[in-house]
């Protein structure tokens, strides 16, 4: 069962996965390209850290994009068929959802591995100034967690109906409206800040996306 589900999902999302894998492989290599052939001076170390930090902002973007696109592709065929085929298969619904989730996760292993390989290659071939160190495995692990968190969230959202999407968007809109009204009424609450703290700060679900994504650091 898993094999045929995986094959179907591969067929729909192979372009996303291939492009994402190439980008995931290239990103760590490009981010330390300034270090190749460079010296080990403190000046060079600063330049390298700046470059790594600058390129590092793309990892969470890539992770979120991959999670989003693969999640959408995961349910696209079922949505088109109004889920009739899936719901008439002789498997419990929870199991079908797990099969789809497992297949999506398996496909996302390719870009995660690409980051690991790219990062290992980049740190092995670059001249890293003294005092600095490469963290290829830590970066790849963090990327893996970010991809899987993004995939899980978008998988859950895109599994729902248009009504579910409406409820989510409506809740967000209501939050904004409440915030605007509170500001107009000079009520000292900042819902956006509170939400940001809850969601983006550890142990918030999106904390992995924040902070510095450094392949090379002190």
């Amino acid at each position: 069962m898993f094999r045929v589900i995986l094959y179907g999902q591969w067929k729909w999302s192979r372009l996303i996965v291939v492009v994402g894998t190439i980008a995931a492989f290239a990103l760590p290599i490009i981010s330390v390209q300034g270090a190749t052939g460079g010296d080990a001076s403190p000046l060079h170390a600063q330049e390298l850290l700046r470059a790594v930090q600058s390129w590092g902002t793309l990892y969470p973007v890539l992770a979120a994009t991959l999670g989003l696109l693969v999640a959408i592709a995961t349910w696209a065929a079922d949505h088109r068929g109004r889920h009739v085929h899936a719901l008439t298969l002789p498997v419990p619904r929870w199991r079908y959802v797990l099969l789809r989730f497992g297949a999506g996760t398996t496909l996302l292993a390719a870009p995660i591995l690409a980051v690991l390989v790219g990062a290992l290659l980049a740190t092995a071939t670059a001249t890293i100034p003294s005092g600095l160190q490469g963290y290829p495995v830590a970066l790849a692990l963090r990327f893996a967690v970010a991809v899987l968190v993004a995939f899980a969230i978008f998988f859950a959202i895109s599994a729902g109906t248009a009504r579910t999407a409406g409820i989510i968007l409506g809740t967000m809109a209501a939050l904004v409206v409440v915030q605007v009204l509170a500001s107009l009424a000079n009520i000292p609450i900042n819902l956006v800040d509170v939400l940001q703290l809850v969601v983006l700060n550890w142990p918030g679900p999106l904390a992995v996306f924040t902070g510095r994504w450094m392949l090379v650091d002190v």
């Binding site: 094959y7 179907g8 065929a77 008439t88 298969l89 002789p90």
Partner: protein, 299 residues
């Protein structure tokens, strides 16, 4: 008599549409035709039978198990062909067969290959690029090769040319003859159902109008030409579905009746009338008259 599908007191509501206390009994091994105008509740009933929708009340039993509680066990023995193509348009015929085979332990590979040849399907063509007839054939192929005990077919030949229709119906009849399976089929093509169904049910506006053996409906629904009919017929041994008012020139009037049997002609002698002629009706006429009578009785 055992029943492949047994429905009692089924209730369902979606927006302004409502199924009201539907009772249905599909005998095991029968070909059961499900008739009704558009929006009468045929597709909704079928979806409830398959557990695609949750009923608000009532009881559904399919192949001896409760739906939706035992859905996976039931669905392993049921082949379904929906009204609209529901398969992944990006997969080829071969890939869809492989997909289906992975979910059904009873999948008959040799039979599937045989049907691919018989239906002249190009197994490398993606589903989205098949013609309407080829899509219908593939959906029938997938339903049959599962080797289920029950086939639920929602207008499977709707909009298809006669050749494709015949191919599909022949395959279905052969399957039933070989497997002693049950077919629960809805269709707008009344004449098609008339040819091969042995039971028929009629739905209208979310209610079951009737559920009878096909022979009984066909043989029992007649147009009677009656002379000297009484203004109020009183208690009749048959069901009067409709009665054309007597023409002013004194000619005979026409009654459409159900549950007719030849011995009932004595009724007319008893009320001082005479039965001039008994005319057979085909299923379509019977169906139309049944609906007309049902709607009149509901006001």
């Amino acid at each position: 008599m055992s029943h492949a599908i047994e429905i009692s007191g089924l209730k369902y509501r979606a927006g302004s549409f409502e199924l009201k206390d539907v009772d249905l009994h599909v005998p095991t091994g029968s070909i059961y035709g499900f008739l009704g105008p558009n929006g009468s509740g045929k597709t909704t009933t079928m979806r409830l039978v398959l557990g695609l929708l949750r009923p608000l009340g009532g009881r559904i039993s399919v192949l001896g198990d409760r739906m939706p509680e035992d859905a996976p066990r039931i669905l392993a023995r049921v082949g379904y062909v929906p009204e609209q193509p529901h398969l992944d348009a990006t997969l080829t015929v071969r890939e869809l067969m492989t997909f289906q085979a992975a979910f059904y332990p009873t999948w008959d590979r040799a039979f599937a290959e045989d049907l691919v040849k018989r239906f002249e399907l190009d197994d490398h063509r993606v589903f989205g690029r098949l013609s309407k007839g080829q899509k219908a054939k593939l959906m029938i192929l997938l339903a049959l090769a599962q080797r289920g005990d029950l086939l639920v077919l929602d207008e499977p030949t709707d909009g298809l040319d006669p050749v494709v229709r015949r191919d599909i119906l022949t395959a279905l009849l052969e399957y039933v003859a070989e497997r002693k399976a049950t077919i629960f089929i809805s269709s707008h093509l009344v004449h098609e159902l008339e040819r091969f169904c042995d039971w028929v049910a009629v739905m209208d506006d979310g209610r079951l109008v009737t559920e009878v053996p096909m022979e009984k409906l066909k043989l029992g629904t007649k147009r009677l030409v009656v002379s000297g009919a009484p203004a109020t017929p009183g208690a009749t041994p048959f069901v009067i579905l409709s009665r054309d008012p007597a023409p002013p020139n004194g000619a005979s009037e026409r009654w459409i009746v159900g549950q007719w049997e030849p011995a009932m002609s004595s009724y007319f002698q008893g009320v001082g009338a005479s039965l001039v002629d008994v005319i057979d009706l085909d299923l379509e006429d019977g169906f139309v008259e049944l609906l007309r009578s049902f709607r009149t009785s509901r006001g």
